[in-house]
């Protein structure tokens, strides 16, 4: 095939100049990463240090690799407590998150005041990590699962409302228009046209949050907020890594099982 450039070029637009933003962005992010890791300005990150110190942890590693299964019965009740805490916190946190999510999306919120106030409150709640909530609550109401549950509720509320309000932003607004045109109130519009669209996502988020809670219980238990994490803290205090290994294995299995169940549930729902 012979090219006939003169004819082919007629009427074709000239290629617009390429944006220099992407290469610039890549260079800037590389520079920032180098700055953060460098010895002089940053935290002095080097892989060599990890390898140099690897042998130092060999006692810990050896004990972790030979778990003391006799310790298992002592972990059953705390593990169940963790599950109970996660269930309560997921139900309450995600339940409260649902109406707050509708207020936090432009698609469903009644006016800009409710939108901004609700967004502001959610941002404040989300700004603090769950560990900090647990620490404060343990100080305020004492050691035990109640502090942990409240910390998890706040965390669940913030995470679910964030994910869900963004899902609501993306729904098809055609059915909402139909509901308005039919004389529905805002609550009825949301219930009949928006809620059915977000339901599968909502259930997926609840399951995900539940999984996060089981995992988080290991961390918030460290500050005395109940559950398996509390046992973990005690055993680590005794340097009983063969017992710690049992707890880690249990958490691994628990998270894996929850993931299996939620995949099945989600597949049915979509």
């Amino acid at each position: 095939m012979t090219a006939t450039p003169l004819q082919a070029d007629a009427g074709r637009p000239i290629r617009p100049p390429r944006s220099r933003l992407l290469p610039l962005g890549l260079v800037v992010s590389a520079a920032i990463t180098w700055w953060a890791a460098s010895d002089d300005f940053g935290v002095g990150f080097s892989l060599g240090e990890i390898i140099d110190n690897l042998t130092r942890g060999h006692r810990v590693l050896r004990e972790v690799l030979s778990p003391n299964w006799a310790f298992f019965p002592q972990t059953v009740d705390p593990l169940l407590e963790t599950f109970k805490m996660a269930i309560i916190a997921s139900v309450i946190g995600c339940g409260v998150a649902l109406p707050l999510s509708f207020l936090a999306s432009k698609v469903t919120t009644p006016n800009s005041v409710t939108y901004l106030v609700d967004r502001g409150v959610l941002n404040v709640i989300r700004a603090l990590p769950d560990l900090l909530y647990a620490l404060v609550l343990v100080t305020a109401i004492g050691i035990g699962p109640l502090a942990g549950i409240i910390a998890l509720i706040l965390f669940n509320l913030a995470v679910t409302a964030k994910l869900l309000s963004e899902t609501i932003d993306g729904v098809d607004t055609g059915p909402s228009e139909a509901a308005w045109a039919g004389g529905a109130s805002r609550t009825q519009m949301i219930r009949s046209s928006v809620f059915p669209q977000i339901l599968p996502n909502y259930i997926a988020y609840v399951l995900y949050v539940f999984e996060l809670n089981v995992r988080a219980s290991a961390v918030i238990g460290l500050v005395g907020a109940g559950g398996i994490g509390f046992v973990l803290q005690v055993q680590m205090g005794f340097f009983a890594y063969e017992n710690v290994a049992v707890i880690v294995a249990e958490l691994f299995v628990a998270v894996f099982l929850i993931e299996l169940v939620s995949i099945r549930l989600r597949r049915r729902l979509v």
Partner: protein, 257 residues
């Protein structure tokens, strides 16, 4: 009866979609509005049920001023005006019956709609609406599993379930193939004749407009440029409405077919 009195709509950004429109649509009429896209057809229809607020003038539905109506009054006006959309606007994940029941929300207390527990009387009305458009057997099927023509009939049933006095249809056949378009237009015509509902339909196909419109209103640049019978709307009239000579794209059924 629908009365436009010097009605204007200017969108943010300055686009004038309606300019000083005066128009009266008598109860029971079947009116077809024609015009190019951007002529203001959709805005005209949405001004009737207040989905688009006027920036000047008034629209009255059965004597009630749509622009002045408060939240509750506006919902009361809307409950008497059913609407059908180009893209059907169904909740695709839920059943046909649930979609049609959206037409009964205006008569359902909030607590009942929250738990999805509609009154038996309202479910009966929804079923009757589905029977009228001939797809009652699909009541418990997911809306997403229906063809385009069937989905639009669910849309019509949803409007009918409101038990309205007026039906608004915004390009109801623009997403459908020619044979299905005629089925849907005949449904609308039948509803107008049998139930006496005032029907306002936006169309951009001239042949459909001439076949189904008793009265044709031509829009151009937000202004009314023709108002008369389908019989009097000849090619010259349509050329005035469209501001250009007509092409094969302006009709649904090409002459060759």
């Amino acid at each position: 009866m629908i009365e436009f009195d010097k009605a204007s709509v200017t969108y943010p950004g300055g686009v004038q979609a309606l300019v000083d429109l005066d128009l009266i649509i008598e109860a029971g009429q079947l009116v077809v509005i024609v015009g190019l896209s951007g002529a203001g057809k959709s805005t005209l229809i949405r001004a009737i049920n207040g989905l688009v607020p006027l920036s000047g003038g008034t629209v009255r539905v059965d004597g009630r001023d749509v622009g002045r109506a408060s939240g509750r009054e506006l919902r009361a006006i809307r409950s008497r005006v059913g609407m059908i959309f180009q893209t059907f606007n169904l909740v695709k994940r839920t059943s046909v019956l649930n979609n049609v029941l959206m037409g009964r929300l205006h008569a359902t207390p909030t607590w009942r709609s929250m738990i999805g527990w509609y009154r038996r009387r309202d479910i009966e009305l929804a079923m009757q609406a589905l029977e009228r458009v001939g797809i009652v057997e699909k009541a418990y099927v997911r809306a997403a599993n229906l063809s385009g023509g069937q989905q639009q009939r669910v849309g019509i049933a949803r409007a009918l379930a409101q038990d309205p006095k007026i039906i608004l249809a915004d390009e109801p056949v623009a997403s459908l193939d020619p044979p299905t378009s005629h089925v849907v237009m005949r449904d609308l015509q039948r509803i107008n004749h049998e139930l006496g509902m005032t029907t306002v339909v936006n169309l951009h196909f001239l042949d459909l407009a001439k076949v189904y419109g008793e009265r044709i209103i031509g829009m151009r640049g937000g202004r009314l440029v023709y108002d008369g019978t389908a019989h009097d709307a000849n090619e010259q009239v349509f050329r005035d409405i469209y501001g250009r000579s007509l092409t094969a794209d302006d009709v649904l059924d090409s002459p060759a077919a």
